[in-house]
Every structure is written in C-alpha cells, then in structure tokens.
C-alpha cells in the first residue's frame, strides 16, 4: 500500500480545499512560523482515527477545535473534512479491501455533532478505520508520526512507556 494524496477542507487553518500529493521518496514541507505545517501532520493523524484531544493540540478539549475557527476576515466554518487516498495496486490491504485498487478514507466532523468516517463512500465506524491503518503500522499511534518537539520523548519516557512504543512497532 502507498499513501498517494492528503486532502483537507476546513481543517484548522486550511479553510479552503487543499490537496497534498504524497510522492515517492522525500517530500519536504517548508514555510514561516505559524503558517500551518504542523496542522498538516495533525490532519493526517486525525483522519486515521485519533480519538484523544490531548494528542491534538486543542484548546477547549473538544474535537471541534479541529474546525476552522475564522479569521479577522472570514467566518468560522461548521465542518472539517480530511481524506487520505491510498494506492492499493499491490493488493496488500487487509480484508475486505484487498482487491480494491484505490481506497479513500474520509473523516468528517460537524460542530457540536461529532465526527463520522467513510471508506470509499460507505459509512464505517472509527474502529474499522483504525484497524485498516493499524494493519499497515501507520495508525494515529504510529511511532513514525513524529510531532514537533516530541522526537526526544522516547528518550525522556519511562522504561515501561518505551516498551509500549516498541510493542506498537512489533
């Protein structure tokens, strides 16, 4: 399986439709402080089924913080949507998606109404999305999504916490 696209609409500072092609090899992301780079990482983690607001830098401890909350010139939005396009031409995705060549996983949230998930247009539970990603070792808890300032967490963590991270990767 390969990740091929990340699409955002109304997620944090990405008010308008945005599409990031995830090409092979190394894709660099640059830009001034506060422009929205780390928000892209959070979009990825959130769409994989992250359920804890603690892991998503948020203010009011609610996932509504993920929705564009307006600027001096634009009103806040009421929904946010993030989708990941997976290229499964290698047919390595777990059942029941093995035969499908392209898998689109979408998470959408509506202010005060919580979020829902869709895989190729069909409504699914958070659990289904989490299992799909866990199988590829790419889920929201993946040790390979290293948030800003957290790289040395492994070093500063307690030995029992480190073993749990190892278990994720096992």
């Amino acid at each position: 399986i390969q990740f091929s696209k990340l699409r955002l609409h109304g997620f944090k500072s990405f008010c308008e439709k945005t599409e990031l092609d995830i090409g092979p090899g190394l894709t660099g992301i640059v830009g001034p402080n506060g422009c929205g780079k780390s928000n892209l990482v959070e979009a990825l983690r959130w769409s994989m089924g992250e359920s804890s607001t603690k892991r998503m830098r948020g203010g009011s401890r609610s996932m509504d913080d993920m929705i564009f909350n307006g600027t001096a010139k634009r009103p806040a939005r009421n929904t946010a949507e993030v989708s990941i396009l997976l290229d499964n031409t290698s047919h390595s995705a777990p059942a029941p998606y093995t035969k499908i060549e392209e898998i689109e996983v979408v998470r959408k949230i509506e202010r005060d109404h919580g979020s829902g998930y869709r895989i190729n247009g069909k409504n699914v539970r958070a659990r289904d999305v989490q299992l799909l990603y866990a199988d590829m070792l790419a889920g929201a808890n993946s040790p390979y999504l290293v948030s800003q300032g957290k790289v040395a967490n492994m070093i500063q963590a307690k030995p029992s916490e480190r073993r749990m991270i190892l278990e994720e990767a096992a």
């Binding site: 399986i1 390969q2 990740f3 500072s13 990405f14 008010c15 308008e16 945005t18 599409e19 990031l20 995830i22 090409g23 092979p24 090899g25 190394l26 894709t27 660099g28 992301i29 640059v30 830009g31 001034p32 506060g34 422009c35 929205g36 780079k37 780390s38 928000n39 892209l40 990482v41 307006g70 600027t71 001096a72 010139k73 634009r74 590829m136 070792l137 790419a138 390979y144 999504l145 290293v146 948030s147 800003q148 300032g149 957290k150 790289v151 040395a152 967490n153 492994m154 070093i155 500063q156 307690k158 030995p159 029992s160 480190r162 073993r163 991270i165 190892l166 278990e167 990767a169 096992a170």
Partner: protein
C-alpha cells in the same frame, strides 16, 4: 505475543546499534529489557555512549545527542517493521550541520528502498536541499493556510518571499 515482542526487541536492538554508530560516526549503544523477565511486563532501557565518552545516563547527553539517539531508535524500529509513511516534524531543529548531513544521508537511503514515503517538515536549508520535492505553506491571507508547490531551484526565493 511474548515471542513476537522478544523477536522484535532483538531486531530493533541490532539495528539500533548500527544506526547509532552511523549517526554518531562511532560510539556504541544498545537496548535492554529491565525490571522483569517477562518481556510484556518489562521496561525498555537505552544505553548510549557517544564516541570517546564514558557510558553514562541518558539525561547527561546534550540536546542534540538525545535527538540523534531518538532518531537512531526510530530508524531501528523502521528497519524492523517498515510502514508506508513516515512524518518527521522539525526533528532536525537541535542538530548542527554535520549531524543534519548524517541524518539526511540515512533518510535518502531509506527513501531509495521505495517502500516508504517521507514527509519532512524543516527550517534547515541543508535538509531542504536534500528533498525530492518541496511544498511551501503560506498564509498570504492571514490566518488561512495555502499549499504551493516550490521549484527545487527556487526554494530560497520562496522562503524570502513569504517571510
């Protein structure tokens, strides 16, 4: 589950020694399961000894050395069980130029294997120069992020323009 974790530990430990020595240009490091004979209850301890220094507690390492040790561990897990995507958000911030180069050497090696795609967020010019493609995020309209593709040859013009 116990055998799986023990096997994973053995692999990660082997790769960790290798990654550490490559990132530090020498020295030695290893992992150990402590506090219990049962891997599922044990804790994971990290021993790191930069080249020419005495073996000591992790907390005495410098900011850059701790980051480099953490990167060695992430890469070791990676080699044991690769994933289709890896995202690194400014992990190169505390590193000096020589260590940024070594970090990028390893990244390029992983990227060339073709199994994994990397998203690397950075402010370091040396790291930007090693990418296959660059995206810029701007807030031309304040508070609203936009993604633009940046021509690799004009990366520094982009940074000066949006600063």
């Amino acid at each position: 589950a116990r055998e799986r974790l023990q096997a994973a530990f053995d692999h990660v430990n082997g790769y960790f020694r290798e990654m550490f020595t490559r990132l530090f240009h020498g020295g030695k490091a290893h992992l150990a399961l402590i506090e219990s004979d049962d891997p599922l209850e044990a804790g994971l301890e990290i021993f790191a000894q930069p080249p020419g220094k005495a073996l000591q507690s992790l907390t005495l390492l410098s900011g850059g050395e701790q980051t480099l040790t953490a990167i060695a561990l992430i890469f070791a897990m990676f080699l044991t069980n690769p994933a289709p995507i890896c995202v690194l958000d400014e992990v190169d911030a505390p590193l000096d130029d020589a260590n940024v180069d070594r970090f990028c050497d390893l990244l390029e090696e992983f990227a060339d294997r073709g199994e994994t795609r990397f998203l690397v967020i950075t402010h370091h010019r040396l790291t930007m120069a090693r990418m296959d493609r660059l995206y810029g995020v701007t807030m031309a309209e304040r508070g609203v992020s936009k993604l633009v593709s940046v021509d690799l040859n004009q990366q520094f013009d982009f940074l000066d323009a949006v600063a």
